[in-house]
Each structure stands twice: as C-alpha cells, then as structure tokens.
C-alpha cells in the first residue's frame, strides 16, 4: 500500500507541476494581434453549421487583416481567433468559454453556433465582463436576460417565420388559416414556434398539428402522415439543417401535398442543390441573401461576398457565414471607435454601433439584439434542373413573386 501511495503522490505532484507550468505559458493576450476566442461546433449535430460559422469568421479575419487591420491608438493590429470544438454540447461550450477567458487570457469573444450554446456561454462572458459579438444565437430569451456584454448581429428567432403566416393569411383572402407545425426540441426552434404561436393568435389562425421533433432529426414521417390526413393550409418545420433536409426528403417520398411549406435553414442545408426539384416552392426564412443591396468597404456587396466566399471555400455562403463575417466587422468598428482595448470602453462602443455591412444594417437594441435589419423570406424556384433561392418578401427586396399554392405532386415532374 505504501508504494502505491508513493506512486500516487508522485503522480499528483507531476500533474501539479505540469499545471503550474501550463498556466504561466498563456499570459500573452495581444502583441500586434487582437486575440478573439470562440467555441465552435466542429463535431456533433451542429457540425455543418459550425463550419459555416467558422468559415465566415475566417474569411472576415483574412479580409480585415489584409486591408490594414484594426487601427487602435495609431497602431495597426491584426485579428486572430482561438478556436475550440464545443462538440455541439452546451456543457462543453460553457466550460470552453471559461477556458478561453481564464487560461488563454481572451478578452473578447465571438459567439458559437446555435441559441442553446450561446445561452450556455453568455452567463460566463457576462460574469467576466467579456464583450461577445455573436452571430448565431437568435433565441429571444437571450435578449431579455439583461445581458450587458452580449451583442447579436442577427434578428431574434421568433421573427423568422411570423411573416410566413401573415403571407399565408393574405393568400387565403385575409381569412385565418390552418397551421401544421413541427419543431425540433431545441432553444432556437422552440423560439421560432413561439413566433408562430403569436402570429396565429394575431391572425386568428388555428394550429391543428403541433409536433415536437427529436434532436437527432432523421425521421418525421409520423407528422407528415398527420399532415396528409388533415390537409392544413401551411406546414411549418424548423430543425436546423437536418430538419430542412429530412422534411424535404420525406415530403417528396410520401408525396405530401400542402399549399405552403415554410422552413428555416434551407440555404445552410443547400436544399436547392441537394434535393433539386424536390425542394421547389419551399419558403425559407433567412437573415441574409446575396441579392440585398447593402454594402461595405471590406466585402463590397452581397454578390461580391458570395463570389469571394465561393472562391475560398468552394460553396455558396449560407446566411450563417455572412452574419459571422459581419460580427468581425462590428468588432473592428467598435475597437476603432473605442480607440482602446479597455473592455468596458469596447463594450460601450459596441453598444453605440450603427453601421452598414454587406450583410445588413446593424444597430443594437437594449437587450443586445440587432434591431436594424428585417428578416427576409426566399422561395426555392427551379428552371429546368437548376434551382435557386429567390427573395419573395419583404417587397422592398423581392426579386420574384411568391408562388402559391404549391402544385400537387401529381402535377410535378
């Protein structure tokens, strides 16, 4: 036993020494670099959107650095990001935020992907008074907590599909509609659901199916069978990328006829490419579209961003990437206006943000949400075999007319 004890003590002290040497080697915060930290979902159920987010961050970092960097106090600084993989798990995300702040000495944070993870990280950044600009946490409850160091460049989740219900009512001659809805059980999708509930109440519409979908979403046949039987006027589905892919795949397989299909995450799922004509007529909520006429001096217009992004990463940027890039533009702007690395000064500068980026106008409301940018809806339309996302609402940006109702499968080729 005593030898074991000795062995154990040696082991513990070795670890202790390793830890001490570890913690001292991380003292550096910035040289000519402004170090930002971010926990990103590189594995797990959000991995595809996590990568979209990371690509958006990286593209903006490269662009800003190559165009003169960030000028603070007459000196030019470059952005650098420390990434960790949060495995799409809130527990891990909170722990990594702590790690970024305490061990890596990060003073400024970029958000993770998804509302759930942002909800887990926000209390940590708030505690240490670390300004966080996030681009992928849309849940409304993030902005009602009174967080002072949280800034979101995107519109809250409840606004995603509200407009779609209004549109359905309008197409129904102003009369209330029957809504079928299915939402993944996560913070974001449940918030989208709340938005629909509000819209239904406002328009007097009736919700005839209200299903919850599991998190690892691969099958929603049960919901679709009900839809087939009850014939609602509009079907609403939200479940991140997997939700969008599953919905389209099974609607086509089961030949479910519904006059209107409203979803989220169509562009992140590359619906028009993956499912082609099967995805046609799907109506999708989006934070951004390349055809909008916003611009800035780093990325130019949305179209140019689209081109540059494609060149760099080989696929068209979903809005998750665009909003992530915008987060860095916001940070740069705030640093320059604060002209300081003092966290509270940077925070105050962030709070006073009022700018236009290629992604849209950005101005933060009292809760930290972006109040200057409307959501848009696009519809997947096909010409021959090539399908594209066409903006249909709001009318200011619309390039195409909203096609309604969706023709039954018997008439679709």
């Amino acid at each position: 036993m005593n030898k074991i004890a000795k062995l154990f003590i040696t082991f513990i002290s070795a670890i202790a020494m390793a830890l001490v040497s570890f913690s001292s080697s991380f003292a550096k915060v910035e040289g000519e670099y402004i170090v930002l930290g971010s926990a990103i979902s590189l594995t797990g159920k959000y991995s595809s959107n996590g990568v979209h987010t990371q690509n958006g961050y990286n593209l903006a970092v490269d662009r800003i650095n190559s165009m003169g960097g960030v000028k603070v106090g007459g000196k030019s600084y470059k952005f650098e990001i420390i990434y960790y993989d949060d495995e799409s798990n809130p527990k891990r995300a909170a722990q990594l935020a702590e790690r970024l702040i305490k061990q890596d000495g990060v003073h400024y944070m970029l958000g993770p992907y998804s509302s759930g993870l942002t909800k887990a990280i926000a209390p940590v950044t708030e505690k240490y008074k670390i300004p966080m600009v996030e681009a992928n946490g849309a849940s409304r409850s993030l902005f009602t907590k009174g967080y002072k160091y949280l800034f979101a460049v995107l519109s809250p989740a409840n606004q995603y599909l509200e407009v779609a219900i209004d549109l359905a009512v309008e197409k129904n001659g102003g009369k209330p509609v029957k809504i079928a809805q299915a939402f993944e059980q996560d913070a974001f999708s449940q918030d989208v659901r709340l938005g629909i509930l509000d819209a239904a109440k406002r328009t007097g519409s009736k919700i005839i199916i209200d299903d919850k979908l599991p998190k690892e979403l691969n099958d929603m046949a049960a919901t679709l069978a009900k839809v087939k039987a009850t014939k609602p006027d509009v079907l609403v589905v939200s479940g991140h990328t997997k939700g969008a892919l599953t919905a389209i795949r099974q609607i086509a397989e089961m030949k479910v006829d519904v006059p209107m299909l409203a979803m989220t995450h169509c562009d992140a799922a590359k619906l028009s490419k993956q499912h082609g004509k099967k995805a046609e007529y799907a109506l999708c909520a989006s934070q951004w579209h390349k055809n909008l006429s916003y611009k800035d001096k780093f990325f130019g217009t949305g179209k140019k961003y689209d081109k540059d992004f494609k060149k760099e990463f080989g696929y068209a940027p979903p809005y998750q990437s665009a909003e992530s890039s915008a987060a860095l533009l916001v940070f740069k702007d705030a640093f320059e206006r604060a002209n300081s690395f003092d966290r509270d000064k940077v925070r105050d500068a962030l709070k006073a943000t009022e700018m236009q980026t290629f992604y849209g106008n950005i101005k933060f409301g009292p809760g930290g949400q972006n109040t200057a940018k409307p959501m848009i809806l696009f519809q997947v339309r096909c010409k021959g075999d090539t399908c594209e996302n066409k903006v249909v609402a709001p009318t200011k940006w619309a390039s195409d007319k909203f096609f309604h109702p969706i023709p039954p499968w018997s008439e679709r080729g």
Binding site: M1, N2, K3, I4, A5, F8, I9, F11, I12, I15, A16, L19, V20, S23, F26, L42, T43, Y83, Y84, D85, E87, S88, N89, P90, K91, A94, Q95, E98, R99, K102, Q103, G116, K119, A120, P123, V124, E126, K127, Y128, K129, S139, R140, S141, T144, K145, G146, F183, E184, Q185, D186, A187, S189, Q190, D191, L194, K212, P214, K215
Partner: protein, 354 residues
C-alpha cells in the same frame, strides 16, 4: 499495521491539503478542477454497482440529470413561480438575493440527493431482477427516455432549456463563483470517498462481491440479494444526484438531452473512467477519472474535430491491453504490493501437477 495506517494518514491529509489549496494554486483551472471532482464522484459511485456488484448500469445518468433539474427547480421554485421563470425559455428573469441563492442551492442539493435515491429504490425494485446485459440495456433505455420526457415538460423549460439562477451579483469577486462550486464539489467528493471507503471495509461490500461472483450462490447462502442490490443502487443515485445538482449550477444552462440526461457523454464517461482505472477497486475509478480528464482537457484541443476518434482508440487500447483497468494491471504485475501473498511452494506444486 500501525505503520500502514500512519502512511494512509499522510496520504489522505496530503490529498486534502492539495484539494483545498488547488483553487488557489491553479486559479485559472478552477472549473476544470470542479469537473474533475464531479467526474471522480460519478466514476466512484458507478463502480459501486458496476464494479463491486457486477451490475453494469448505463442509467446512472438518470439520477445525475434528475439531480440537476431538481436543484435548479427548487432553487427557483422556493422564491419565485417556476412556471414563469421557464416560460418561453426564461423570458422573465427574477433576481435572487445572495441569501436566497445560497439557501436555494442548499435545499436544492439536499432534494437532489434524496429524490434520486428514492427513484433508484423504486426503479431498482422493478428492474434489478434483470441480470447481465439485460440490465445494462434496460438502464440504457432509462437514460434516453428520461431525456426525451424532460424535453417535453414545460415547467422545466422543455426543449428551450432551463437557465439556472445566476450567481448573486452582489458578490463582486469574479473568482467567488468558481471557488464556491469547486469547494462544493470537493466536499461532495470527500463525502463520497469517505462513504465508499467505509463500505469497502464493511460486510456490505462482501455481499456486493458475492452477488457479482455468483448471485445464485449468494442467495442460497441466505443473503437477500434484492435488498442489497437496491441499497447499492440507491447509494450511487444519492451521489449522482448531488453531482448533477452541482453541475447544473456550474454550467448555468440545462438542456434536456445535452446537459442533463447526457447519456452519450457523461453516461458513457463514468463507465469508461471506472474501467480505465480498474473496476472493483477503491482507487481505480479515481485514477481513471483523473487520467481521463487530463487526457480529454490536454489532448482534445490539439486534435480539433478528431477527439472522438482519439477517444475510440483509447477505449480499444484499454480493452485490449488493460482489460482489468490500470489498477488491475498493476495488481497482476505487483500482487505483493496489494497485500496479496503468493505461496511459491503451492504455486510450484500446482505447476508440477500439470
């Protein structure tokens, strides 16, 4: 004999001093150290029925998640209407005063230890008649079902998740929260260790071992195996609940399947850690959990995106080279250090017989 005890005393006091000093020595690592304490508690108590009793449970995550939700619910519900707190994913926010916060978490932790133990008793009564892999599969289902059910209960936030009360803002020291949770988890760790150590010296452990080695014989000897199996599981549940309650407060956000009933991670980790260290030993799960945590924290960030592959390789290596865990391997190599005496004459005579 006296000498060994003195050695033990030095070891334990050394470890306690190290434990108490750790958050000051490694101030930046407080959260990781808290995780370590919780992981050790989970591994150690899993070992009670997985290692000692031979009932491999994948369902202990049920008690962990239950403890998490219970602590948070009690902490909020004692002072504010819980339904309004969680409605719409926590849109309304009430602020706990410092006293309310600590009172809440105190009572919450108490509840989170007792109720899971009772639940374990009830479920145990129903399913501990199952043996071997039937029991394992059944408990696996328990954890998954609990996650899905919790995701549908509106009063605890359903799919929106449950934001636990933030640490009181009146305490200005930013380190206070980290220290509080560290010492809390360390206290639970010490409590669990003392208890498990006590069990190791008692008849109870022998009964558990008897159940593991041959349940029918144990029964034939007049041991009411069912009773002991249930009690064993209840002890595990008690500490799992406590561990869950602490983690909920520390993470600050409870999600039904990803944080609370996280069978895919925590549920598997606790089994893995116990096996890595060596199940059926006192120190095995502790060493296993420590090694695992260091492996995870140290290595995972350097192999972004590949960490689960590395974990898979680790599991394969453990199973192939250390099927009895590190402690089991050491025991085989140096049996005399574990107080096992090999009678050379007897061994030789046996060899010669063959």
């Amino acid at each position: 004999m006296e000498k060994v005890k003195q050695k033990d005393l030095i070891l334990y006091s050394g470890l306690i001093i190290l434990g108490l000093a750790a958050p000051y020595l490694f101030s930046a690592f407080k959260v990781q150290l808290t995780y370590l304490c919780v992981l050790i508690v989970l591994a150690m108590t899993w070992n009670l029925q997985g290692g000692e009793m031979g009932y491999n449970s994948f369902g202990n995550i049920l008690f962990y998640g239950l403890g998490m939700y219970l602590t948070a619910s009690v902490q909020v519900g004692m002072f504010f209407p819980l339904a309004e707190w969680t409605e719409s994913g926590g849109e309304k926010t009430f602020v706990h005063t410092t006293t309310q916060y600590f009172q809440g978490i105190g009572v919450g932790l108490l509840v989170s230890a007792i109720i899971p133990a009772i639940v374990a008793g009830a479920i145990g009564y129903a399913i501990l008649g199952l043996r071997g892999h039937y029991f394992a599969i059944c408990t696996l289902g328990l954890g998954i079902a609990a996650g899905e059910i919790a995701g549908g209960i509106e009063i605890i936030g359903a799919g929106q998740g449950f934001t636990t009360p933030p640490f009181p803002a009146e305490i200005v020291d930013v380190e206070a929260r980290g220290k509080f949770f560290y010492f809390l988890s360390f206290f639970v760790l010490v409590l669990a260790f003392v208890f498990v150590k006590y069990i190791y010296g008692s008849r109870f452990r022998l009964i558990l071992n008897a159940i593991r080695d041959n349940e029918d014989k144990a029964e034939a000897m007049g041991i009411q195996t069912m009773k002991y199996k249930i009690v064993g599981w209840m002890v595990s549940a008690f500490f799992c609940g406590l561990a869950g309650g602490i983690m909920g407060g520390l993470i600050g956000y409870i999600d039904s399947t990803d944080v609370a009933f996280d069978g895919r991670e925590m549920g598997v980790f606790m089994v893995l850690m116990a096996i890595l260290g060596g199940k059926g030993t006192l120190w095995g799960p502790i060493i296993g959990a420590t090694l695992f945590h260091f492996f995870k924290e140290g290595l995972w960030t350097f192999i972004l995106g590949w960490q689960y592959v590395a974990l898979g390789v680790l599991i394969v290596v453990i199973v192939i080279y250390f099927p009895e865990g590190l402690m089991g391997w050491l025991r085989e190599k140096y049996p005399e250090r574990f107080g096992e005496v090999i009678d050379e004459k007897d061994r030789k005579s046996q060899v010669e017989l063959k």
